[in-house]
């Protein structure tokens, strides 16, 4: 294994992180914190620590060639996400907020993986710099901490492609660009533009700049952290909720698809693809939730119930996890609907989590095909998606991924319930679901108005690992646990 390139890339990730920390500290100073405040001191120390580790990595990796194969790429991603989670926890620990080290790690993982579950009940009283870090971590994690380097480091060559396709759920084939670097750069530009548009829209909708920027960062990354105690519900503003719905939807759509539309390639509209499935799913869920709301309240559907259902549907499907109402109070069928769409998630190549719509569609088609094959074994049924015929291998890997994800969820539920004997069944189920699929809120004890602070430390650490597993779509983390991957010859 070429460990030099791993060290080299790790040191760059850490340097970038320290720049983000420095940015948070500066923002805090501008917003009236003093240099002697705990929070600013914490950030300074964090910057020092991450630069220190970056230096060590740099020294270890200064020799050796920049050849990046699959194994090295997976290692870089897995290790850098775990490392980033630990370093991202430092500001919470060093600011001496009300909570344990496990809380800090949980919060950091929840931020970077854009989950949006919080372990702090009093986060709205945090110093402003820490709040900015909370939102900023989601913004950076949304696109991926390594993707940024893919765009900058042209020396990585084709290795950048492996890095990119393992960190983001999209594939490089979606790009129009030959060089992965220019494709990733375009993606970053789009992300930046979307975030700015979102911030301005929030500001015009009635937030102050601080709230607008923070919420914009957590909306476009489909993270779901809020600076307010009641999340989006705090504002009691239908305008803001609609703005939020629109931007969450856009962020849950395949970015490259939107970019191509912007460039006038309208012919892709004619292809059947996952974006249509995604919007169909959102519409269907909204409709179902409205029906169940009628059951619950006994009132005919109006603008209010449409908005509430649409907001909840979009927030859960895109795995953002903002809340305007406590859906714990809803009827069980409504909860079941939400539970189902939690599993599905948004489009591939977006910032959202979950299994991704495209995989579900492929799996369902493969399943129906197998039923047809049961009575007509010789018929040949090609599988087409987004204008391409899928190879058997691709279908196979999709099905395997879903099996792996489900198995992991079931095993994780066993572990969590053994560790937390007092947690209700819905609580156990949804807290694993909410973290593994990077959603945020669950049901019952971990519902939208609750938080994860009451859990044991070991559970929180375990859930943090689940979040990273879910965000990186398993493989980049799972290889770290395969002993033969570490060996030189095997």
């Amino acid at each position: 294994m070429n460990s030099a390139i791993i060290y080299k890339l790790l040191s760059m990730v850490l340097l970038a992180l320290s720049a983000v920390f420095a940015l948070c500290a500066c923002a805090g100073l501008l917003l009236g914190e003093s240099i002697r405040d705990d929070s600013i001191q914490a950030f300074i120390l964090t910057v020092a620590v991450s630069i220190g580790i970056a230096l060590i990595c740099h020294i270890l990796g200064r020799k050796g060639e920049a050849k990046l194969f699959r194994r090295e790429a997976l290692f870089v991603i897995g290790i850098s996400w775990i490392l980033a989670t630990f370093i991202g926890a430092l500001p919470y620990i060093l600011t001496h907020v009300n909570g344990s080290i496990a809380d800090a790690i949980f919060e950091s993982a929840s931020g970077l993986t854009t989950t949006g579950a919080t372990a702090y009940s009093d986060f709205h009283e945090f110093p402003k710099s820490l709040l900015i870090w909370r939102s900023m971590s989601q913004w950076a994690g949304g696109l991926g901490v390594v993707v940024f380097f893919v765009a900058i480091l042209s020396s990585l060559g084709a290795g950048a492609k492996i890095l990119f396709s393992n960190e983001s759920s999209g594939t490089s084939a979606d790009f129009d660009h030959g060089r992965i670097q220019s494709g990733a750069f375009l993606l970053m530009l789009f992300y930046l533009g979307l975030s700015s548009a979102c911030a301005i829209a929030y500001k015009l909708g009635g937030m102050d700049w601080f709230q607008a920027i923070n919420h914009a960062m957590t909306t476009v990354s489909t993270g779901g952290f809020s600076t307010e105690a009641m999340s989006m519900g705090q504002f009691q503003s239908p305008t803001l909720e609609w703005i939020s719905i629109v931007f969450m939807l856009v962020s849950g759509t395949t970015f490259v698809y939107i970019i191509r539309l912007f460039r006038g390639q309208t012919h892709i509209l004619r292809q059947s693809n996952e974006v249509y499935w995604f919007y169909g799913l959102v519409a269907g869920t909204t409709l179902l939730l409205m029906v169940f709301l009628v059951d619950l309240t006994g009132q005919l559907p109006d603008h209010e119930s449409l908005r509430v259902s649409a907001f909840q549907a979009v927030s859960i499907i895109t795995t953002t996890g903002y809340a305007t109402t406590d859906f714990n109070q809803w009827l069980p069928p409504a909860e079941m609907t939400l539970l189902l769409v939690m599993f599905i998630g948004g489009c591939s190549g977006s910032t959202s989590g979950g299994v991704k719509v495209v995989r579900i569609v492929i799996a369902i088609r493969a399943a129906t095909r197998s039923i047809t094959h049961a009575f007509r074994p010789n018929v040949t049924i090609p599988m087409r998606m987004g204008g391409q015929t899928l190879s058997e291998r691709a279908i196979h890997s999709v099905v395997l991924f879903i099996i792996l994800m489900t198995a992991l969820q079931l095993l994780a539920m066993l572990f969590v319930s053994a560790n937390e004997p007092n947690l209700s069944f819905a609580g156990v189920f949804s807290c694993v679901q909410a973290t593994l699929f990077n959603i945020g809120p669950g049901f019952e004890e971990v519902g939208p108005t609750e938080n994860f602070q009451f859990l044991r430390s070991s559970t929180k650490i375990f859930l943090s690992l689940l979040m990273i597993l879910g965000r990186l779509e398993l493989y980049a983390v799972l290889v770290l646990f395969i002993p033969s991957a570490w060996k030189r010859f095997s």
Binding site: R70, S154, G157, A158, A160, K161, I162, S172, A173, F175, D176, H177, G178, R179, I180, Q181, S182, S391
Partner: protein, 449 residues
């Protein structure tokens, strides 16, 4: 620059690597799905599985916006169709890889014009030029050649017994296809003029057609006899055929060893002056039988790299004076140096590399490219593209005032290269090759571009 490549064989594959490493936006279309998957992992380019000669596919990859379209499959017809389609759909520059001489024969119809192909490339021919360089001009001080071997630059010493000593250049009655550029005398060099006198020990820089240069050599150095060169080629590949064409002069005795009987027959029919032997050069007995030990040159140019290397070693051991070989696979690139230094193989040529260099030069957006250093540090050999806006368009060679220390070597007009005569007119789109001394380069380029 946006570049589309059709076909991911050895040539296309290597071009893709080279061009994407140079920072170009490369799209590669390949028919085999398995190969696509492999390439996707190792190439920093967009790899598309599809048919490169389908118009729908070409529209899908937005061929209209591409700056260069390279059809590099091993099938000539696919390449011609792809290029023609691409041109029709709006590609700026189309280049096709062609093996068959049919498409370069423009006596009935100009294929390039008809199909809208801007440039025909034959990697095997480029490769053969490299191989022929050594064979054709052995013993010369230094050789550089351009325009696919049509023009050569050589340095020649004026020997003591030469009858040219003491004559002015205008009295030499040189062939119009040959020109003297520089005369180097006791460490100083001067640009040749009609009144320059030749002295013993001068080193003159000559340029012109290789065979003409060869006959001139006798006049400069009468003591040096022309000897017959015995050349043995192993393999009747495209490279071998191109090489045979370059070695048509009767002073070369060419012998080809080829495994395939049908190929042997067609070779023998096409080239009556060469000896074709049906057999396998990996067999020691055959090599001994054919007295490879007495050959001056042994060139292994089959498609099989491993056989090439081993037969070369065998031939060198049997006593062949010079051995050369062709390496097709890119994976062996790093072994080339070892082959040269440790195993005594003199020339190792790879069609991929030769093609990639040729392409890079053709695709570069710069108006001038440095081709080589003049041996002995006299200056540089530079190729300049003449644009429409250039001040020298439409002028005759004699009307262009070049500063002292710069000489026209070649004029390339629509794939024909010639030594420019005083009355030749430079047109837009032509390329000129010049020898320029370091200090004059800027001034010269300013007057041409």
């Amino acid at each position: 620059m946006k570049i589309i490549i059709i076909g991911a064989g050895e040539v296309g594959h290597n071009l893709c690597t080279t061009l994407s490493a140079a920072g170009h936006n490369v799209t590669l279309i390949e028919q085999s799905e398995v190969r696509c998957e492999k390439l996707d992992e190792e190439q920093n380019a967009r790899i598309i599985h599809g048919n490169g000669s389908s118009a729908r596919q070409l529209v899908d990859v937005d061929v209209a916006s591409c700056d260069a379209f390279l059809a590099m499959t091993s099938d000539d017809r696919t390449n011609v169709i792809s290029c023609s389609l691409a041109k029709g759909l709006g590609a700026k520059n189309t280049i096709a890889r062609i093996h068959d001489e049919t498409y370069s024969d423009n006596s009935v119809i100009n294929y390039q014009l008809h199909f809208g192909i801007d440039l025909l490339v034959n990697p095997e021919a480029i490769c053969a030029v490299e191989l022929a360089k050594e064979i054709r001009s052995a013993g010369r001080v230094a050789v550089e050649n351009f325009a696919r071997g049509q023009i050569e630059v050589q340095q020649q010493k004026v020997a003591a017994k030469s009858r040219l000593i003491g004559k002015k250049l205008k009295d030499l009655k040189l062939d119009p296809r040959v020109r003297i550029g520089y005369i180097q005398r006791e460490g100083t060099s001067e640009v040749a003029s009609a009144d320059s006198l030749l002295e013993e020990g001068d080193i003159v820089t000559l340029f012109g057609h290789p065979e003409e240069l060869f006959t001139l050599r006798e006049r400069f150095d009468p003591a040096h006899k022309i000897d017959i060169a015995r050349v043995v080629l192993f393999g009747g590949s495209e490279t071998a055929i191109s090489l045979i064409r370059l070695l048509t002069n009767p002073r070369f005795k060419v012998r080809v060893i080829e495994k395939d009987k049908a190929k042997c027959r067609s070779l023998a029919e096409r080239f009556p002056n060469i000896t074709v032997i049906h057999g396998d050069a990996t067999s020691l007995r055959l090599l001994e039988e054919e007295q490879i030990g007495g050959a001056d040159y042994f060139v292994a140019c089959t498609k099989d790299d491993e056989e090439n290397i081993l037969t070369c070693l065998q031939a060198a051991k049997l006593g062949a004076d010079h051995v050369q070989l062709v390496i097709n696979k890119g994976d062996y690139d790093q072994l080339l140096g070892i082959l040269k230094t440790m195993l005594g193989i003199e020339v190792v040529v790879s069609p991929r590399q030769a093609t990639a260099e040729f392409m890079l030069r053709n695709l570069s957006s710069e108006s001038s490219a440095k081709l080589a250093e003049v041996p002995g540090g006299g200056g540089q050999i530079v190729e300049v593209r003449i644009k429409h806006s250039s001040p020298c368009v439409g002028k005759k060679i004699k009307d262009i005032q070049l500063p002292a220390g710069a000489v026209f070597v070649a004029l390339l007009h629509k794939f024909k290269a010639k030594v420019p005569a005083a009355d030749d007119i430079i047109l837009a789109g032509d390329r000129v090759v010049l020898i320029v001394s370091e200090s004059q380069q800027k001034a010269v380029l300013a007057s041409l571009v």
